[in-house]
Amino acid sequence: MRQTIKLKVNGVERQDDVEPRMLLVHYLRDRLNLTGTHVGCDTGQCGACTVLLNGEAVKSCMVLAVQANGAEVSTVESLARGTEYHPVQQAFWDMHGLQCGFCTPGMMMAAVGLLKRNPNPTDDEIREQLEGNLCRCTGYQNIVAAVRSAAEKMQSTPAAAPVTAGASGE
């Protein structure tokens, strides 16, 4: 029994018929071809599938597409403005916050979510808040450095933090 969902993805209104059992991550990747959102574990452990749902970082393999009906979703593809990187993307580049890059989209979306809740985190808070995201390559040091660097930049130039999707909350 298919259901019609209406939602806003990266600022674009979408309407689609989906099976209720379709996961949000599959809707984004397979229907909308937004393949920046990765599937690492599919069991809620790795965070590679992290997107913003109404402004909050969530694991899109743990949300049904039908649960996103009426919501705003932002994926990693929404971060850059044309050729201009989001401060979090720029910081991952500058601080070498990645190696293979598989975890990176989820890491960056989790970082965007954490900086919304806590714009000026300590290193310990960054580590704690990235608990839901696993990386097999970097050893995390440069990821933490990247988030710290992004936080500093976003504090000094708040306008440099696009990602508009909705207020946090419900």
Binding site: E19, M22, D42, G47, A57, L114, E131, G132
Partner: protein, 292 residues
């Protein structure tokens, strides 16, 4: 991973939800934050024919001051509870425990009601519900009833809720009285983050500094959350020094139906229960002193 097929409804009122619960094709399951249910669906450990999404029901979303208690609607997310000034002020124990649940993505989706209704033996909030003498408010088309936390958790993943009942809200005893302190201490499973053992403690001191009341909730150790009544009784009237805590907490694991798995044997769980009960009580007592 795809789950089995199911029919999905997102009712917009409690009345509509209760009617669906009675009339939809069984097995019917309520979907809250999905952070426990969706993995079960994907692994096909649960294959309900019908899912009823509770997220659009306004009656299940509220945070209210109710005098001696505060009441949280079932669909309050962990983040909403953590961010609530009322909860921070009147039930800091809830905050301390919820900050330790899973990770931020889980705390954004997971709900108070889902956590209690799921009754994971390693869940954090059940210990807090025990220590704060929570009342769980359930509603069905036959009306409402309240269930004391002590009678709510009945077995692994099993509660006193009936299949046609919705967990509507939960009232937690407020602890913002003078000379009262609380603490939640957890030994985290290194991979899953769940509590191998978690202990929630409430301590109220008298004018002479002795323990007037202690309430201790334990999760992770046994099949379901439990009160450590023996410890509570042993502490009544005592000065909460090292020796008194040691003596009382020696019995913290008594009477628990201890679980055993590859990470933690029943013996290790019993040991953790005693050690963490002492730490939680010491931390709660020190907070109670500073509130005196």
């Amino acid at each position: 991973m795809y789950s089995g097929d199911f029919a999905y409804y997102a009712p917009t009122s409690l009345g509509e939800m209760l009617t669906l619960l009675n009339n939809a094709k069984p097995e019917v399951k309520v979907l809250a934050g999905g952070q426990s249910l969706i993995p079960l669906l994907k692994l096909r450990l649960a294959s309900p024919a019908t899912l009823i999404d509770a997220s659009q029901v306004p009656d299940l979303r509220m945070i209210a001051d109710s005098g001696n208690t505060i009441t949280l609607g079932a669909m309050t997310t962990y983040f909403q509870a953590i961010d609530s000034p009322l909860v921070q002020q009147r039930c800091p124990l809830i905050i301390q425990a919820l900050r330790q649940v899973g990770d931020p993505q889980v705390r954004a989706r997971g709900t108070i009601g889902g956590s209690l209704a799921h009754a994971d033996p390693a869940g954090d909030l059940p210990a807090v519900a025990m220590a704060l003498d929570a009342e769980i408010h359930a509603v069905s088309s036959n009306g409402e009833r309240s269930i004391a936390a002590a009678n709510f958790f009945t077995d692994v993943l099993t509660t006193a809720l009936q299949p046609n009942e919705v967990l509507k809200s939960v009232s937690f005893t407020a602890t913002d009285q003078p000379a009262t302190g609380t603490a939640y201490v957890k030994h985290r499973h290194p991979a899953s983050g769940y509590a191998v053992v978690g202990v929630a403690a409430v301590v109220r001191l008298g004018a002479d500094g002795t323990c007037q009341e202690a309430r201790v909730g334990i999760t992770g150790a046994g099949a379901h959350a439990a009160r450590a009544r023996g410890v509570e009784q042993a502490l009544a009237g005592k000065t909460l020094d090292e020796a008194a805590l040691d003596a009382a907490c020696a019995s913290a694991a008594d009477g628990l139906d201890l679980m055993s798995d590859t990470y933690a044997s029943d013996e290790f769980r019993a040991h953790l229960t005693r050690v963490l009960a002492k730490r939680a009580l010491a931390e709660a007592a020190s907070r109670a002193h500073s509130q005196a």
